[in-house]
């Protein structure tokens, strides 16, 4: 059993989904409890992996291998290093919370939960795969259930948003596939046998020109997924139209598939292209534009969810800024920022969803002074806002600070622009808080809003606790990523 920990984590949600299909449609309570139980079980198994994980071992741990399509050299290969461990944990933490937050979904309950369990397996698959083909499979598999989640339970413009999301991200991922095929052939040419496995592909020595086209092919897949400026246009529509749990999973988990792709594929497999001066400059510039543009657009939003959506563009810009600083502190900061963004954005979307359920209005101007009618809500919302804005002692600060340190080492200008982004983030988030929570109550509907109930508090508390824990004592996280990040940086810079 112990040697299959990762497979168990990966397939628990899928098995849970298949069993879920046997529960009759009318038993909504059983469906909810079952999905929650399955996702909690996955969390428990992933915590066992955490306990068994060694911070000092190099390379991948708990590796599992089995031939899958031998004629193509494709393996079913799973394994984790510090980076994938953190993202796996983020996934298994967010998913039960998404289920708990969906207690109020009343339409097609079974399909809704089945799709989310499928999304969980697909997302875990992306983080755990050590084989490019398997990775691609899961990378695409995420799209299908997400399309249905947005298109069936979303807001008024859901059909448009769902299809745009699907086509846009698929466009990137098929181009990414071309890049992977390129690597695959290079491997056959150099070693005489086919393999998609990351460890095998890392043995390649490729000329810079080849590395560059492969880099851009992979870039198409990852940059659209993150999304980097200027490929972000699918994001606001998808996030705004998706149901609450959909937004939480989309922003909290799916965006990380892109940054993870950079760390797992682009940097180690085409290191010379990834550290090529022109490419690095382009990527850093796009990150900075993303940070500033996302922040400025957030500042102008009138809708609550749309503001959070654009803030993701800005925050994910920090993640890519840290990655392409190409130094240990920057990349480690980026991984932490990915986790932190998952936590804080999930909080923000959850809170926005809870408010929407009560009030049914998306415009920020429909609120104001809510703190007096919903003090508990206002408190947690305050934590979420500060966490997202990167206030010290909360989680957001740690990652962003490390990223800025990393960027500073590359050039002061990059760091300076990053700081401007931080200031803007504080501005749009605090202004959001002020316009919705503080001041006198301007709309009578807001006067008697019920405060968070026990279930809602239970949904939010784990994330709040994590936000404080990571903010106060981030060292364990840094320890986990320290080794893989050091290896990654060494690989990129060894010529």
């Amino acid at each position: 059993m112990t040697e299959h920990l990762l497979s168990i984590t990966l397939f628990l949600p899928l098995a849970g989904m298949l069993l879920l299909l046997l529960i009759p449609n009318s038993q909504t309570r059983a469906i909810r409890l079952w999905s929650l139980a399955v996702s909690l079980a996955a969390l428990a198994v992933s915590l066992v992996s955490l306990a068994r994980f060694s911070n000092s071992a190099s390379g991948f741990q708990m590796v599992e291998r089995a031939p899958w399509i031998p004629t193509l050299g494709v393996q079913y290969a799973l394994g984790i290093d510090g980076i994938s461990l953190l993202l796996m944990l983020l996934t298994t933490v967010i998913c039960p919370i998404a289920f708990l937050a969906s207690w109020n979904v009343t339409q097609k309950v079974k399909a809704f939960h089945a799709l989310f369990l499928l999304i969980e397996t697909a997302t875990l698959g992306v983080f755990l795969s050590l084989d490019g083909f398997l990775f691609y499979l899961f990378f695409d598999l995420v799209l299908i259930p997400m399309y249905f989640v947005i298109a069936l339970w979303g807001g008024p413009k859901r059909l448009y948003a769902a299809l745009k999301f699907f086509l846009y991200t698929l466009c990137g991922s098929v181009l990414m596939l071309l890049g992977l095929i390129g690597l695959y052939f290079a491997h056959i040419r150099q070693f005489g046998y086919p393999s998609f496995e990351i460890a095998e592909l890392m043995k390649l020595t490729l000329p810079l020109a080849t590395q560059q086209w492969i880099f851009w092919a992979l870039f198409a897949g990852f940059a659209i997924k993150i999304p980097m400026f200027p490929f972000h246009t699918w994001l606001p529509d998808a996030h705004v139209e998706a149901p609450t749990a959909g937004s939480v999973v989309l922003a909290g988990l799916l965006l990380k598939l892109g940054t993870y792709g950079f760390l797992r594929f682009s940097l180690p497999l085409v290191p010379h292209a990834s550290s090529d001066l022109t490419i690095v400059r382009i990527l850093l510039t796009l990150s900075i534009i993303g940070i500033l543009y996302g922040a400025l657009v957030s500042l102008m939003q009138r809708e609550w969810k749309r503001l959070i959506a654009y803030s993701s563009v800005s925050h994910m810009g920090f993640c890519t800024l840290g990655i392409f600083a190409l130094n240990p502190i920057g990349i480690a900061g980026s991984v932490l920022q990915q986790v932190n963004h998952g936590i804080s954005t999930a909080l923000l979307f959850l809170l926005a969803g809870m408010m929407y359920e009560r009030r049914g209005a998306r415009e920020i101007s429909a609120y104001g002074g809510v703190a007096s009618s919903m003090p508990r809500f206002a408190f947690i919302f305050g934590v979420a806002v500060f966490s997202s804005a990167g206030l010290p002692l909360l989680n957001g600060f740690v990652g962003e600070f490390a990223i800025l340190q990393g960027a500073f080492q590359v050039g002061r200008t990059w760091a300076a622009f990053g700081v401007v982004g931080l200031v803007l983030a504080a501005a749009y988030l605090l202004w959001l808080y002020q316009r919705t929570m503080l001041g006198p109550i301007t709309h009578n509907e807001n006067r008697n809003l019920p405060d968070l109930n026990a279930r809602e508090t239970l949904v939010l508390l784990p994330l709040v606790a994590l936000a404080f824990a990571i903010g106060l004592y981030p060292k364990p996280l840094f320890d986990i990523v320290q080794k893989p990040v050091a290896e990654l940086v060494e690989r990129v810079h060894s010529k």
């Binding site: 399509i69 004629t71 299908i144 299809l163 698929l170 181009l175 071309l178 052939f185």
Partner: protein, 475 residues
């Protein structure tokens, strides 16, 4: 020349098909399907014995009629595909064809016999015979619903343009005969190997032969007949046309272009590349605007023909294997998708518009789920079978350095997804209108279940199927 035992063994499947076809004409309606499936089973058994014979004697092929006909693993692979397609199509045909079912099934077998002759033809005359037998059967099948004017129109267009294309093939074959002095493919191969590929006579022969065969797979600019024929034909025939006819023509293209015509590669490769790209473009873009599902699937088969041609443009082992895998997966998803359309009825008549799918997920969740699988597979998304076919074709293009074609092929997946998902949207997001009912018989359900299960199985565990396809390349 005398008729030897070996000739007899090689030709047994074809003989069986014709005999059963004739027997069907005299059967009573009740016994049609049992008789037909017995025939298919017997044929399958003989194919299996031929395969075993090849393995046993460790030879690449079984040649008959002093080299005019050959049974190699390539031919056997395609024969198996034709057999599977015919079985699936026959299983779903009965509810559609209330009259003249006997003649219809006989025609299916005759068409299949023609395909077998194409697959195993090693002589221009044998090939032409097979091509004509297949085409003539299809002309009749497309116009089978005599009282339907669209069916008549489609059949007439198909007949006139088809006859023209057969003429082109015959002309091309005669030129090849003039060049080589023989109709045997082996003789043509050795004659062309020493010839300048830019010789004008050879180019003319290539162009006419190629154009004639490309017509059969509805490649641009020889596609004009296809949408009308698809719309007019009874739905199972449209599926049969889309799958079997394309597979047969691709088998012939591979046999000729990577065999005797391989030395002239420098001439045909760029031309074929342009045709493939145009086919992809037109098929995909025209499909967007269709509201009739038969026409939509018709245009989508044109785009699939484009992918198949891309595999031939790559032309290496991976590419040919890619075509084999593509066709293997294409059978099940296409017949499956057409079958879902076939079960929809509005006031007794077939309901063919995209909007007729509205709310299918609510009224028939299983049918909607299967259709989703077929459509995802047609679009080429993992983890369905359709992904593998496209994957191999792309792999072959990257391998042979056709990067631009590979990129184009990849990006058209997005366009394809767009129009396939119009159907998904109708099924899952719309409310049922109530006017459309789903009618199916047990044989239709079996065919759907088999197609759906294979579409998923090939996608999830492709290894055995890839090995099977690999055998087709080992000749």
């Amino acid at each position: 020349m005398s008729y030897t035992a070996q000739d007899n063994f090689a030709l047994t499947p074809e003989i069986l098909l014709v005999l059963f076809g004739c027997a069907l004409l005299f059967a009573s309606r009740r016994w049609v399907l049992p008789l037909l499936f017995t025939g298919l089973l017997c044929t399958g058994a003989v194919l299996w014995r031929q395969y075993a014979w090849l393995d046993q004697n460790r030879v690449a092929d079984l040649t008959a009629f002093s080299g005019a006909f050959t049974v190699d693993r390539f031919a056997l692979f395609f024969d198996a595909l034709f057999l599977a397609t015919t079985a699936l199509v026959a299983a779903v045909s009965k509810p559609v064809l209330r009259r003249d079912f006997l003649e219809y099934t006989a025609m299916l077998l005759f068409a299949q016999c023609g395909m077998f002759l194409i697959g195993g033809g090693a002589d221009l005359v044998t090939i032409f015979l097979g091509l004509e037998l297949m085409s003539l059967s299809f002309y009749i099948l497309v116009g089978f619903t005599r009282e339907d004017r669209r069916s008549n129109e489609g059949a007439l267009k198909f007949l006139i343009l088809g006859a023209f294309s057969s003429g082109l093939v015959a002309y091309g074959f005669s030129l090849l005969y003039a060049i080589a002095g023989s109709t045997r493919l082996s003789a043509i191969a050795s004659s062309l190997a020493t010839r300048d590929p830019h010789d004008s006579l050879l180019i003319l022969a290539l162009a006419t032969t190629g154009a004639g065969i490309l017509f059969k797979i509805a490649a641009v600019p020889f596609h004009m007949w296809a949408p009308d024929a698809y719309e007019g034909a009874p739905i199972p025939v449209a599926a049969y046309l889309s799958v079997a006819s394309t597979a047969a023509a691709m088998a012939l293209l591979i046999r000729l272009f990577t065999g005797p015509l391989a030395p002239a590669r420098a001439v045909w490769e760029p031309l074929l590349g342009i045709v493939a790209l145009a086919t992809l473009t037109l098929g995909n873009l025209a499909a967007i605007a269709q509201s009739n599902m038969k026409r939509l699937l018709g245009y989508s088969s044109i785009s699939h023909a484009g992918y198949l041609l891309l595999g031939l443009v790559a032309g290496n082992r991976t590419g040919i294997k890619g075509i084999s895998v593509y066709l293997l997966t294409y059978i099940f998803m296409t017949v499956g998708a057409f079958t879902i359309v076939l079960t929809l009825k509005r006031e007794g008549a077939s309901a063919e518009n995209v909007s007729d799918l509205d709310g299918l997920a609510k009224s028939h969740p299983w049918n909607a789920f299967l259709m989703l699988v077929f459509l995802l597979s047609l679009a080429g998304l993992p983890p369905t079978a359709g992904f593998l076919g496209k994957y191999f074709v792309l792999q072959a293009l990257v391998e042979t350095g056709h990067y631009a074609l590979a990129a184009a092929g990849t990006l058209y997946v997005i366009v394809a997804l767009y129009y396939y998902f119009r159907m998904v949207r109708a099924m899952f997001m719309m409310q049922p209108s109530g006017a459309v009912v789903v009618e199916s018989t047990w044989s239709v359900r079996v065919a759907l279940a088999v197609s759906g299960a294979l579409t998923l199985a090939i996608g999830l565990y492709p290894e055995p199927f890839l090995r099977f396809a690999e055998s087709s390349v080992a000749r």
